[in-house]
Symmetry: C2
Subunit: 342 residues, 2 copies
Amino acid sequence: MDVIEPVAWTDDGGGLRILDQRLLPLHETYRELRTVGDVCDAISTLAIRGAPLIGITGAMGLTLAARTPPAQHPLENVVDAAERIRATRPTAVNLGWALGRMLGVAHAAVASGHDLHACLIREADEIRAEDVAMCRRIGELGAELIADGARVLTHCNTGALATGGIGTALAAIYVATEQGKRVEVFADETRPLLQGSRLTAWELRRAGIPVTVLVDGAVASLFRADKIDLCIVGADRIAANGDVANKIGTLSVATIAGYFGRPFYVAAPSSTFDSSTACGERIHIEQRSAEEVTNAFGVVTAPAGVAVYNPAFDVTPAALVSAIVSDRGIHRAPYDFSQQRQ
Amino acid sequence: MDVIEPVAWTDDGGGLRILDQRLLPLHETYRELRTVGDVCDAISTLAIRGAPLIGITGAMGLTLAARTPPAQHPLENVVDAAERIRATRPTAVNLGWALGRMLGVAHAAVASGHDLHACLIREADEIRAEDVAMCRRIGELGAELIADGARVLTHCNTGALATGGIGTALAAIYVATEQGKRVEVFADETRPLLQGSRLTAWELRRAGIPVTVLVDGAVASLFRADKIDLCIVGADRIAANGDVANKIGTLSVATIAGYFGRPFYVAAPSSTFDSSTACGERIHIEQRSAEEVTNAFGVVTAPAGVAVYNPAFDVTPAALVSAIVSDRGIHRAPYDFSQQRQ
């Protein structure tokens, strides 16, 4: 597989080189982030998106705060930068998790007299390497759920464009395909930002996997036409009871899959598990700007000034989830995410 | 209420004046249709849409065939034109129904030596007047289902822009509002052509009714947040068993409403009842062009050449429909559409 690198160090090591995902599928354009402000901007505008990739980019981006002058108070610089980066996407638990880990290393480095910048770079590289391995493990486990000839519906983008490796939900499809299984994917477009049609369709075609695009409203029609064997989606945060926060539209897909009696699987790294949140009702959901709905891609699609309901995520209750695949195993209700593979 | 006239005769009587709905909500532009070809083009490109309005426009448009020279074989001209118009939207039963009625009048006029053109104009005016009365009647009956303070989800556009009168599903909302009830409407945008955000939101705002727009994928989130009391949508064709063909996305809304235990109502003129079709599986569903999905409003939203699933309609099984409101009454399962109000 031709590997996509959605985030990397620049050749001079002084910044990040990212694939600007807002321009896909028309343009494959890379740009450089040189400051923490650039990193925050890239995350909040969704040039970089996907929960695991946000975590990696946040960690890599935080290293810029340790080298930016004035370095008189380097630790304070790093702590402030971590807060700014964390605030860009409050629902994505991986971001907070990765930044927390980086801050732990920063404090230890300063306390022990080690080079702060070098320690942070090493930790960010480690977070990325772990993500690559986690994606592979999720893919191997998830592939067990995909039979030869399966027709799979997915939502949003959970592939190489969303992670440091081959993805989460799409990793299962990639590994199943590597194993010689024939898999046909249906990608709903995932309004408002169309990650399904713009990103998932783009990376699956690039990998030679058959993919069909549809509008989100056509999902139920697809099931009624008996074209889907199973669904697999990602997650941004998973509560202790198995409730899943994920891209807006996920709950619609899960509800419809349940009505038509087809399995609905969630695939996510174990860093997405949030044991401190008992259930989905406790998960904070960002509301995004009205313009994403009323002004789609520069075209006016609703009357000026109309009220808009535009949450970034929804919460799928555990009752609608057939199983959760993580790097720790295939989990089923009642959930105990602290355990290894059952 | 400031009445919108989506189709009318031109001042000189030699053509049709239509509101080009493709340009809403940004531009309220009217244009003239002078030939049967213009009429076919307006219907097939969705400049005119909405099942009842298509029927009215087809009937009015057919009169142009009776005055277009050469009028050596005026009846053959009209019969040919009816076929061309009918073929533009095969699923919309009102179109076939209205054209059939016009052809009956055409044959009778020629057989009895009456003026063909005058008879057709009279019949088209009659079809339109009946539609206005039907909308009013549907609105009055449908309003009984809407309580004061109701929060109503609707799909696509079923209002003044879809009919000769105040609409079908939206008629219920208009009449409930006239009765002094406070009604809050949620309009899903209805991809691919966004009739919800472009048309429904536009006409409700014009009528002073509170409306909130959301992407289709956010429907389930809206229910889970307990923001919806009932759904009301239109229909393009209703089978004898109560299965409902309507704009793609309707089945998704119905499935979700069912899961969350909220009523799902369908409002449509009795001309939409198709007693010759036993059930939804027998309804022919048009597939529309891939570009509606991949090239939304001139913006590339999917990789070139990707496969697309883009049916114009879906079929909601009668089991998911709480009641059907027509000009004949409020119908509930088991359905017998030949009866008057129960």
